[in-house]
């Protein structure tokens, strides 16, 4: 897909590579992020309830998703000399070992400000 600002249009799509989630990938993310919350490590703990929620087993770090989305954006932006400036996320569903996930983005709009040019993606 084109990455020149002038050639980008609302509706253009980008995507990152697929990511296979395993107990080992979650453990590696613990070591890399220093986030050793038992949500990601302890199956016995995860049999319990969290208020109204029961996850049923360990779940992937939400920030692992964040990192994959960030990687999609930078890998797309760097070749065009562009910089990743902001990312906002909300978590809707947990990700578990055995899941395969893939980040995708759609260009929503472009803006030119006094000193810069922005591409906004959903």
């Amino acid at each position: 897909m084109a990455t020149r600002f002038e050639q980008l249009s609302a509706g253009d799509a980008i995507e990152g590579p697929e990511f296979a989630v395993t107990r080992e990938s979650i453990r590696l993310f613990c070591d890399a992020s220093l986030d050793y919350n038992p949500l990601h490590l302890d199956d016995d703990y995860m049999k319990g309830n969290f208020g109204k929620t029961n996850f049923g087993g360990i779940i992937m770090h939400g920030m692992n998703n964040f990192g994959l989305i960030s990687r999609m954006i930078t890998d797309w932006a760097y070749p065009a000399g562009a910089i990743h400036r902001r990312l906002e996320t909300r978590w809707v569903k947990p990700v578990r070992p055995g899941d395969t996930i893939q980040p995708k983005g759609i260009i929503r709009s472009k803006h030119t400000t006094a000193r810069s040019r922005w591409v906004l993606l959903d």
């Binding site: 986030d35 919350n37 939400g62 920030m63 960030s70 400036r85 990312l87 906002e88 996320t89």
Partner: protein, 158 residues
């Protein structure tokens, strides 16, 4: 590697020292600790999310880019949040669930940077019977430049 070796990976160990939702005061600064970001830490983080851009690994290549040298991926703040906070920080309370995040990026973090964090709870509220805290964070490098700033919404276990 002294920093990594001293990191307590058992998040239950200091659980009784951590603030509960009731104890968290919006506006009150969190205690933080400076952290020296190493190339090893960047490479381990990259491995965990599949980051393979030479900007993070190849010094010769990185020197030819706009950044003039190796940098860390923007999302390195995921590591910095735990690296720059002590073991009794409430972000480590077992059962803390991440509900949302928004981050803005300024200058990149680089290997060798001594990174500091200014952080606080900004707000807390109850929604759909869940205890939320909004936390507010700014990471700086040793030159006083903002690396990134962000907010997170977490659901507290108690």
């Amino acid at each position: 590697m002294e920093q990594a070796e001293s990191f307590e990976t058992d998040f239950w160990k200091h659980a009784n020292l951590r603030k509960l939702w009731d104890d968290i005061i919006p506006g009150q600064p969190r205690q933080t600790i400076p952290y020296t970001l190493t190339r090893d830490a960047i490479e381990l983080y990259c491995a965990s999310v599949g980051e393979d851009h030479p900007m993070y690994f190849d010094e010769d290549y990185a020197r030819t880019t706009v950044h003039g040298g190796l940098i860390a991926p923007p999302s390195i703040h995921i590591l910095l949040m735990f690296a720059c906070t002590p073991a009794d920080d409430w972000m480590r309370s077992p059962g803390t669930v991440n509900a949302g995040q928004s981050w803005s990026y300024n200058v990149p973090a680089r290997p060798g940077d001594v990174i500091t964090l200014q952080a606080r709870a900004l707000d807390k509220f109850i929604k759909r019977e869940r205890l939320f805290v909004v936390h507010d964070n700014v990471f700086f490098n040793q030159h006083g430049e903002v690396i990134c700033s962000g907010r997170g919404w977490t659901i507290r276990p108690q």
